[in-house]
Amino acid sequence: MNTNNNVYTVVYTTVIVVVVAAILAFVSQSLKAKQDANEKAETISQMLTSAGYGTKAELDRLDNSAKLDKYAEEVEEAFIINLDGEKVRELEGITVYGPKDLKRQNYNIKGGANKTGEPEIPVFIFKNGRTVVPIYGAGLWGPIWGYISFNSDLTIGGAYFDHESETAGLGAKIKDDPSFQAEFVGEKAFFAESNVFDIVKGGAPRDAEGKSVVDNKIDAITGATMTSQGLDAAIDTWLAAYAKYFLGSEPACNKPCCGGESQDEPCEGNCEHHNEVEE
């Protein structure tokens, strides 16, 4: 058989590619349900990590159903809001927002050609008083996403980030380096400002003891400038989408603010930041 003739070559490669594609499509379809279940459990363990129910490694020791049970037990309320901070609907059963759902909502928040509808962003309130919200954006090589939890005084209680294909040892530190995620704890998001949160190059402001001061700035990752910038942009975009929800739900501020110049005037809007400056 002459295997070097052109027609044979074209037909042969076509057949091989079609057969391989068919096998892969079949396998992918038949395993999809199992993979989705794993992904859901993973998302739940990431949210629980962010909400402070243990480290990721501890939560990963639980099996899938135990993770789901723990979530069902600890979640107080889960609902969808719009960009005005109004509750649209409750989330039924154990519904979480993994990377695929977040991707769709990310397009909706940003608008443009890929927009499929009005943004519907989830809020998860846990029994320990923390509110978990997701973030999603582009890293250097692929999507990055994560979950940030806020205490009732709107300081950040915890954060967990994940990525699809950031460089191991550099960009992948957003997921693998617990000390990076720990930097978020105790920081604040300035919801009233355009720059809600900052991951800065060259060092975040620190006090005399070398501890990061309570503001909206943390250190970027050395050697992972693009991933850090991507994460910064993702956090800014998503927390800005939650701004009205958080500002609206804030307890009325009865402390004098804005440097104490207008003691008698009641505060308007977010006085978190100003009180901070005052201190």
Binding site: T3, T9, Q35
Partner: protein
């Protein structure tokens, strides 16, 4: 079992080891050897991919058009790699490992051992020896991976398979061992040991 077949199986394990002698697959051996569990899953994945790709391509060897043979090899190896990745993602027990190995499972396709053995052996030999050659080369790769991972996990985290071994005696994990350069140092030591046993490799 005849001598030639025995040689096919035993040669890649020690005398012609793909990592220490042929110096193939170095990149992934630095990346996935932080934990023994990761190294073990990676080793098994490479064994499966290498063995089955060699078998398939050896069966097809007389029909493959010479001018596109590399492309046909790539398609078959890519299929095997995706299958392995999909299967690892589907089981609860392996999902976390797959996440930990992240891109490196997908990058098995760029592992020179797989394509190298297909090109050098499977295309010129019968299916059964080709299959064994693939398995043996995967195993030779896996053996080095596991040796390196053993030392890196033991010294870098004080554990083996996640079970505490040294920490209970007050051992402080050495962070250098976790970093990829240490894997290169260990690999160098393994090559050193091997070449002092096997004098004919010395230049």
């Amino acid at each position: 079992m005849d001598a030639k077949l025995k040689e096919t199986i035993l040669n890649p394990i020690f005398k012609g080891n793909p990592i220490t002698v042929l110096v193939l697959g170095i990149c992934s051996s630095l990346a996935v050897t932080v934990t023994l569990k990761g190294a073990l899953v990676m080793a098994l994945s490479v064994i499966v991919v290498c063995g089955i790709s060699s078998l398939i391509l050896s069966l097809l060897r007389k029909t493959i058009p010479g001018r596109v043979r590399i492309i046909v090899q790539l398609v078959v190896v890519a299929m095997m790699v995706i299958l392995v990745d999909q299967i690892l993602k589907s089981f609860e027990a392996t999902y976390a490992i797959d996440k930990q190995l992240s891109v490196y499972i997908g990058l098995i396709i760029t592992n020179c051992i797989v394509m190298g053995r297909i090109e050098a052996f499977a295309l010129g030999n019968k299916p059964w020896p080709s299959f064994l050659d693939g398995i043996a080369n995967g195993a030779g790769y896996g053996l080095i991976l596991i040796i390196v991972a053993f030392f890196r996990e033991l010294l870098g985290s004080g554990t083996l398979f996640g079970v505490d071994i040294l920490n209970r005696f007050g051992y402080v994990p050495n962070n250098l061992v976790i970093l990829p350069p240490f894997a290169l140092i260990l690999l160098g030591c393994i090559v050193w040991v091997q070449r002092s046993i096997q004098k004919d490799l010395q230049e």
